[in-house]
């Protein structure tokens, strides 16, 4: 696979660096660049390999079934149960990016800001029984400069002002929208007929050359794949080389952290990790930032038990791992008269936000967006891309594969998940990973309102497909989630140490030199596209942590 790691600064284990960052992905990559550029010494511990664009292949089977870019269930098993009353069963329950650059290396590249309402929704709409629905302690106005920074520093293509629902912004997108695909055209026409407001999807893919990177070549392998052009604006071709270039940042791949060390004064002193050979090391640091994603960050805290924190580090609230939110997705497909050839170029070119907030008269909480796309590569299409009525083998199957592949698309809805305390990441009692650590146990059952919202999106999608002239349309059934990709809410931010894990500076309420910044920081789920908010939080956290460090307040 990948060649040796690029030349970079090396720190001895015994030298306490300013910051150890656990994770090099959406947030860790940003924190590494920002803090190293701000003059601090940084060691990034990343569980996965350091791959380069040359390692990325158009091999659907290896990427999906052999976890080329993601956590491998065989080595890191998970268990799943719907409620704490059920027995957890060993089965794949979630996916995250496991490599330098993290999840955004393989993500679809949808890049949506949160809207103003996302931060203040509980106070506007009221609390919801049986949930931890709450306002964030920060607002959209606090975040706006950092959304802008994320878009400009990473490279995002889009059209400011194209959606009447967009929140205010201080700058346009740095790059024009990607060329519209046939799915976008049909969706736009159908949605307009129904009075909706389709607009060019903001995508973290560069439509023109940008900051030394080449523009997207429309090869069609975004979702689930690494970009061999480096045109997808993940941390891998952006934040990581810039962090290295400071001469103050060392990225250590194949470094699997098992514990954060705590001293007698209640301060963390570093991270214990297994290196590639399985040997244990302790990297000393003056402060530690966990950016390991919404599942591994709480798991690592729960693994870091001590006399002072018998229920897990920084867990005096008991909320570490709780309020897990996956977002839900709806799906409906359509067949058209002429070829769309959706296997070319990026997945998504048009979206609507007309249902970002839904009519309270519907009687349930929720909201989201809908996009038009092609979800499939050839193998996944053959498994799942045909309407349910079509036989799954034989002559009719073969004919349908031939007919539908170039002429169909799907509408995907992306929606809210309510924070429910039982939905959680915890440590499994019996199952262990390949390093002998307790496996991750996932407990998850969608709130009824989340499923109603998903069904609402399916119904609207079917209407749009009809209005767009589909010859045939079909809906995929709405089912309870048993698998997650968006890993949100498990160490929520708040002002009250009793009801949250971190404060608005991303500092844990319990430990002054321990910070958490990733999907776990979320208070609410947003509308199904969390990555830009994770990265904007990381830019903001970098500023806050820099100010605290320079003021000797860490």
């Amino acid at each position: 696979m990948s060649a040796a790691t690029p030349p970079q600064k090396h720190y001895p284990l015994t030298d306490a660096v300013d910051f150890v960052i656990v994770g090099s992905g959406a947030s860790g990559g940003v924190l590494a660049r920002e803090l190293s550029q701000n003059g601090f010494s940084v060691v990034v511990l990343e569980q996965g390999p350091w791959l380069t664009t040359a390692d990325f292949k158009h091999d659907e089977y290896m990427n999906w079934s052999h976890s080329a870019l993601t956590n491998d269930f065989r080595k890191q098993p998970t268990t799943f149960r719907k409620t704490p009353r059920d027995k957890a069963v060993k089965q794949p329950a979630l996916t995250y990016g496991r490599m330098v650059g993290g999840g955004p290396v393989h993500f679809t590249a949808n890049f949506w800001r949160f809207h103003e309402i996302d931060f203040i929704e509980a106070s506007r709409k009221g609390t919801i029984a049986g949930t931890g629905f709450a306002d964030w302690p920060i607002t959209y106005a606090d975040m706006e400069p950092y959304y802008t920074k994320a878009e400009w520093d990473l490279g995002v293509s889009g059209q400011a002002g194209a959606s009447p629902f967009d929140p205010p912004r201080s700058k346009p997108y740095p790059l024009p929208p990607m060329p519209v695909k046939s799915s976008g055209v049909l969706f736009e026409q159908g949605a307009r007929k129904l009075g909706y407001h389709p607009f060019p999807a903001p995508m973290a893919v560069i439509s023109q050359s940008y900051q030394g990177r080449m523009a997207c070549a429309h090869c069609g392998f975004c979702m689930g794949f690494g970009c061999e052009m480096g045109a997808k604006s993940s941390p891998l071709p952006t934040m990581i080389p810039q962090a290295i270039a400071t001469g103050r940042c060392e990225i250590r791949p194949h470094s699997y952290v098992r514990k954060i060390e705590l001293d007698n004064n209640g301060r963390v002193t570093g991270a214990i990790y297994f290196d590639k050979s399985g040997k244990e090391n302790l990297q000393h640091a003056r402060a530690v930032i966990l950016a390991a994603n919404g599942s591994e960050t709480p798991r690592l805290l729960l693994l870091s038990k001590s006399n002072r924190y018998p229920d897990g580090l920084a867990n005096s609230s008991g909320l570490v791992g709780k309020y897990l939110m996956f977002n839900t997705d709806s799906l409906a497909g359509g067949l058209y008269e002429h070829p769309l050839n959706e296997y070319k170029s990026i997945e998504v070119t048009r979206i609507i936000h007309d249902f970002y907030e839904m009519d309270p008269k519907l009687g349930f909480y929720g909201g989201g967006g809908i996009d038009a796309r092609f979800l499939w590569q050839p193998i996944s299409f053959a498994f799942n891309g045909l309407p349910p009525r079509v036989p799954q083998w034989g002559s009719a199957y073969k004919q349908a594969l031939q007919k539908y592949f170039t002429r169909s698309m799907v509408l995907a809805g992306h929606t809210t998940s309510l924070p429910v305390a039982d939905n959680s990441i915890s440590l499994d009692d019996t199952v262990k990973d390949a390093w002998g650590l307790p496996a991750m146990r996932v407990t998850y059952k969608d709130h009824p309102d989340d499923l109603k919202t998903t069904q609402f999106m399916v119904d609207r999608s079917m209407e749009i497909l009809e209005a767009s002239g589909a010859q045939e349309k079909w809906a995929y059934p709405v089912e309870e989630s048993t698998y997650g990709f968006h890993l949100l809410g498990t160490c929520r931010m708040g002002n009250d140490p009793k009801t949250s894990v971190i404060n608005p500076d991303h500092r844990t309420h319990d430990v002054p030199n321990l910070f958490l910044c990733d999907g776990s920081s979320f208070v609410t789920s947003g509308r199904g596209q969390p990555t830009e908010t994770i990265q904007a939080l990381a830019f903001r956290a970098s500023d806050r942590i820099t100010a605290l460090a320079k003021g000797n307040q860490i």
Binding site: D59, N327, N384, W393, H486
Partner: protein, 194 residues
């Protein structure tokens, strides 16, 4: 991060197959072997994992999943060699489930056509009857999964999708560069604007 749908589909309805296949491993060595194997595949009738009986049964099964008609089917895509390659290298952990699936197939043959000796020896109509009787089972789906993967997978992996017959069937091309317009509707849209 926005990959719920596909992944859910892979692991959910599609089944057991991809869920199970997830459990396998890859090393760079194996990739190199895969390449070598891909170069040589099809030229030999020897198998690394399949018994001769299993290979002929799987060949007949595959030919019913994606039949050969006016266009090539699973047989021409070389899915038997592809599956044999996967099962003897990166998907070794699937050997047991696949062996169990062959046993289940044989048991269904005996049940549906009493006295029949093998799946291969049945008429096409009888084979279809046997497959319909077990099409909802994990045994059926693991075999079907390997057929589909061998028909549509990257030709660089294990010599399946030979001569890209799977991709040609559906109109897929694996190129590193495309320019708009990509399809009929965006071509019309751009015309309307100019």
């Amino acid at each position: 991060m926005d990959i719920d749908e596909t992944r859910r589909m892979f692991l959910g309805q599609a089944g057991a197959v991809f869920g199970l296949l997830c459990l396998s491993a890859l090393t760079p060595d194996l990739l190199a072997q895969a390449h070598t194997y891909a170069q040589s595949a099809g030229g030999t009738k020897t198998y690394r994992f399949f018994t001769p009986q299993q290979a002929t049964a799987f060949d007949a099964f595959a030919a019913q999943i994606i039949p050969t008609d006016s266009t090539p089917g699973a047989r021409e895509a070389n899915v038997v060699h592809f599956t044999d390659y996967l099962l003897s290298t990166i998907d070794k952990d699937q050997q047991k489930p696949v062996e169990d699936a062959f046993k289940a197939l044989q048991a269904q043959v005996a049940k549906t056509v009493p006295g029949a000796t093998s799946f291969t020896a049945l008429t096409s109509a009888q084979q279809i009857e046997v497959m319909k009787a077990m099409e909802k089972t994990p045994d059926f789906n693991i075999l079907r999964g390997f057929v589909i993967t061998g028909f549509f997978g990257s030709p660089a992996l294990g010599g399946g999708n030979k001569n890209q017959v799977g991709w040609r069937l559906i109109g897929f091309e694996d190129k590193f560069y495309y320019q708009p317009p990509f399809g009929y509707y965006d071509a019309q849209y751009d015309k309307g604007k100019s």
